[in-house]
């Protein structure tokens, strides 16, 4: 197991260097000079332009810019945002809990509903429930998040008035961040109604962000279950006279879960992509919106640092998934 972990960790290093190189060069390859974008229609004098170039280090050769950047990164300094003038690291970790809270709620909802739905569809293959479920999964998967979110807001907030329109908590509540997770902080604040308000604000964005992962998980679970249910050992178990529920949930599901877990690991990327739109629409102060703003403003340090941190997160999640395989399937652990 230790060897397995070590070999996985070793692959981190080239991946990490690759990610920093790509994030560093991509934003620079894109046309658009951040200083000119900053000045807008007004423009600026040649002299001022050169002064700012020197200040931001753009007058150095690309290689030396990258070298300086990496030296900083290895010392835990991701640079300072051109726009807000605050360290990228601080900004990321101030906003990340909001994204994490929303993503965790969404993926939990997707797993809790998606796996049982997939299992039931597999057992009832070809019947009405299966067809209805798979068609809605297809719709869910193809739904434009932007449109879906607005529709939810108009129906549940606008017409029915059940949920607040946007934000993380009612403006009436005001307390300092402790963990950055609104559900926990609202409880810690001890203010009556704060937790309820935080939950009510989470409902719509969670549903919206969970929609695509839910569809993917349900479909994946269904097909994995169908495959496993056709295996010889399941037939043997049936022949032995085991109760159907035990066959489904103990013998079949455990094996079917391996591809599902892979998919859940890969969904982290989808979640972050979805978070960008979801956060913008629901005025959710997370890293998705922060990254989009910084791309528009050509805020190089934020784009580079943000991409790198996100990539590290994805790498960590994938590593966790790999380790989970090992737990579920001893064959992988041994190989």
């Amino acid at each position: 197991m230790l060897n397995f972990l070590l070999s996985r960790l070793l692959t981190f290093i080239p991946t990490f260097i690759g990610v920093t190189l790509i994030s560093f060069s991509f934003i620079r390859v894109l046309p658009g000079d951040p200083i000119i974008v900053m000045a807008g229609e007004r423009g600026m004098s040649e002299e001022r332009y050169n002064e700012l170039r020197a200040q931001f280090g753009f007058d150095q050769p690309l290689f030396s810019q990258y070298w300086d950047y990496m030296t900083g990164v290895l010392q835990g300094d991701l640079g300072t945002s051109f726009v807000t003038k605050k360290p990228v690291f601080d900004e990321f970790f101030a906003l990340f809990p909001a994204t994490l809270e929303l993503s965790l709620c969404a993926i939990t909802l997707a797993i809790l509903l998606g796996i049982p739905a997939g299992v039931i569809a597999a057992i009832n293959r070809g019947k009405f429930f299966d067809r209805a479920l798979m068609s809605s999964a297809l719709v869910g998967y193809s739904m434009p998040i932007f449109w879906w979110a607005l529709l939810m807001i108009i129906v549940f907030s606008g017409i029915l008035g059940w949920t607040p329109v946007s934000g993380r908590i009612s403006l009436m509540f005001y307390f300092d961040d402790v963990t950055g997770f609104m559900l926990i902080d609202s409880l810690l604040s001890g203010q009556a109604g704060a937790f309820k308000s935080a939950v009510s604000h989470l409902v719509l964005p969670t549903i919206v962000l969970a929609t695509i992962p839910l569809a993917v998980i349900a479909r994946q679970t269904r097909s994995a279950m169908l495959e496993v249910l056709g295996e010889d050992y399941i037939r043997t178990a049936r022949a032995k006279g085991l109760p159907p529920s035990r066959i489904t949930y103990v013998h079949a599901l455990r094996n079917a879960l391996i591809p599902v877990i892979t998919v859940i690991g890969l969904l982290v990327g989808t979640l972050l992509a979805g978070a960008i739109l979801t956060e913008t629409i629901f005025s959710w102060p997370g890293i998705g919106k922060w990254m989009v703003d910084s791309i528009y403003r050509r805020d190089y340090p934020v784009v580079q640092g943000g991409l790198m941190l996100i990539a590290v997160m994805v790498m960590v999640v994938n590593l966790t998934v790999d380790l989970l395989y090992g737990l579920i399937n001893p064959k992988i652990r041994k190989s």
């Binding site: 229609e41 605050k86 934000g167 005025s283």
Partner: protein, 529 residues
């Protein structure tokens, strides 16, 4: 059933709370996050709304709802005969805000004025490089060239000495970058080793005190009880940052906010009949234009430019691109600016005459490029669509148009090139309500190769605006600018397209909100019923 009812009640409760808390709390659903809270470091309106308007004052102010300059922290001012000296008499008894880290020990005085400008101006000032030190507007308004010195005559008198006469000087001092910060706070933060706090925990003299900012979520302010004018009737002011315009509208309907900026043009019709919303409107202080390159044939011929102008159906553009939220522009300055020459007649829309005029100049089989901006601006919400409409208009007079576009940064820099191929769509939003800010910046000879995208240098026009720049008498300046607009129309370096209309949806309980022509959103003087 019981559970679902409880949940529904809980959710309902949470929605209504926001309304209940707003007895004297005004919630403004702002469109984005401020870049910081030091208005001199930035150029975006979003940042000014969150910093200079609520928190700070300036020596002189724009009267809310107009471009008139009125006394602010200076009670009065006079200029010398030669226009080189401006002396400001400062108001006494003005208090700065306090916060956890700072309590002022003295009232506002001349030191604060000197500090506020020198930090942007003098490299030896310890604040010159703090927070990146990008003093865009200070540079953009040519202050480093203009200022010779700022002299403290006594504690309550400050004199600005200029290198050359500049009539718009007083209006410049009403701009956001000229906000007055506390020198004492600056010293205290420097001593504490946290100079960036000036940008993050702002202290000013304005009607609202900064309370807290949760990035990308909420900004909170409290009324300043010691304000030197009548304190604000609102107890609290909250900015709920809501980037999506449709969501802002839903929040307005749900009573989660009282005022919102920048509605979707598509929502305007519904808003105008919505009982929960008063839709205020005013013409914006901007102009959208198509600038020909007056240095490249055949566009160096005013008659050719004039002919092309006659081929553009501007009303169709207002309908399609602005969806009615704009007015046709005939002058290079908007009608809300003084000296707007209403006697100027716009070129008629007449494709037949346009075609004939082109032929008369010997121009046939003309093909040209139109540059369309890749971004949305108030003066041009959809440049691509606008360019396509012009393409169609020009095809009717036999002119073949290719629409091109570049990434915004590229667009801005390439469009300055003297030999640029094609006419370019661009625009301008006024900074200080002075005609000089449009006419000199965008059409003056100094701007060729820079902000003068038409690359047009006309001696007659330039002499008029240069004379107006050094004349302090407003009536005299008005005459000069009116004349300049006549020359502009005759020479036609641009096709003037439109001035956008600014719409501000506010809830019916909001009283006293005025749409500000300079684009800011100002809550001093606003009350809730």
């Amino acid at each position: 059933m019981k559970i679902s009812r409880t949940v529904t009640a809980a959710l309902l409760g949470a929605t209504v709370i926001a309304g209940a808390a707003s007895a004297k709390t005004l919630v403004y659903c702002s469109e984005g996050s401020p870049e910081g809270f030091d208005p001199a470091l930035y150029t975006s309106g979003t940042t000014f709304d969150a910093s200079s308007h609520p928190i700070y004052n300036r020596l002189v102010e724009f009267e809310t709802g107009t471009t008139n300059v009125v006394p602010g922290l200076a009670e009065s001012w006079e200029s010398s005969e030669d226009g080189l000296e401006y002396t400001f008499n400062l108001r006494k008894g003005v208090k700065f805000h306090s916060n956890d880290a700072f309590t002022p020990t003295r009232d506002f005085n001349a030191d604060d004025v000197i500090f506020s400008f020198e930090r942007q101006w003098k490299e030896e000032n310890p604040y010159n490089q703090v927070s990146g030190g990008t003093w865009e507007y200070f540079g953009g308004m040519s202050m480093p060239d203009l200022l010779k010195e700022i002299v403290k005559v006594d504690d309550y008198t400050v004199k600005f000495v200029l290198n050359r006469p500049e009539a718009p000087m007083v209006a410049n001092l009403a701009m956001d970058f000229a906000s007055i910060l506390s020198a004492e706070y600056g010293d205290a933060m420097l001593a504490a080793g946290t100079p960036e706090q000036l940008n993050q925990a702002p202290v000013g003299t304005g009607p609202f005190k900064f309370v807290a900012y949760q990035k990308d979520a909420v900004i909170r302010y409290a009324a300043n009880p010691d304000y030197w004018q009548e304190p604000s009737p609102l107890e609290n002011l909250v900015f709920a940052i809501t980037p999506d315009a449709s969501v802002r509208y839903q929040k307005m309907k749900a009573g989660e906010c009282h005022v919102m900026p920048y509605p979707n043009p598509a929502d305007l019709e519904a808003m105008s009949t919505d009982e929960d919303i008063n839709l205020l409107q005013q013409e914006g202080l901007n102009v959208g234009y198509l600038a020909y390159n007056a240095q490249v044939a055949p566009f160096d011929n005013p008659k050719v430019r004039k002919a092309l102008n006659m081929a553009i159906d501007k009303n169709a553009i207002i309908d399609v691109v602005f969806q009615g939220a704009g007015v046709v522009a005939k002058n290079p300055i908007p009608p809300t600016i003084w000296s707007y020459n209403d006697a100027v007649e716009d070129d008629p829309y007449d494709p037949e005459a346009a075609k004939a005029a082109l032929e008369a100049e010997g121009v046939t089989d003309l093909s040209m490029k139109i540059w369309a901006m890749p971004v949305q601006r108030p003066y041009n919400p959809n440049a691509r669509r606008m360019a396509e409409l012009m393409q169609e208009d020009f095809s009717k007079i036999g002119v073949d148009v290719e629409v091109v576009s570049y990434e915004w940064g590229e667009y801005l820099s390439r469009s300055k090139e003297l030999d640029r191929d094609g006419a370019i769509l661009l625009g301008w939003t006024g900074d200080n309500g002075d005609p000089d800010n449009f006419l000199a910046v965008l059409l003056g000879c100094d701007g060729v190769g820079k902000s003068n995208r038409a690359q047009w240098c006309n001696e007659e026009f330039d002499a008029l605006i240069q004379k107006a720049k050094v004349t302090s008498d407003v009536a005299e300046r008005t005459k000069l600018y009116e004349e300049a607009q006549v020359v502009f129309k005759r020479e036609a370096p641009w096709a003037t397209i439109a001035h956008s209309t600014v719409f501000m949806p506010v809830r019916p309980e909001v009283e006293g909100y005025k749409v500000h022509p300079l684009g800011g959103h100002i809550f001093y003087g606003v009350d809730l019923k």
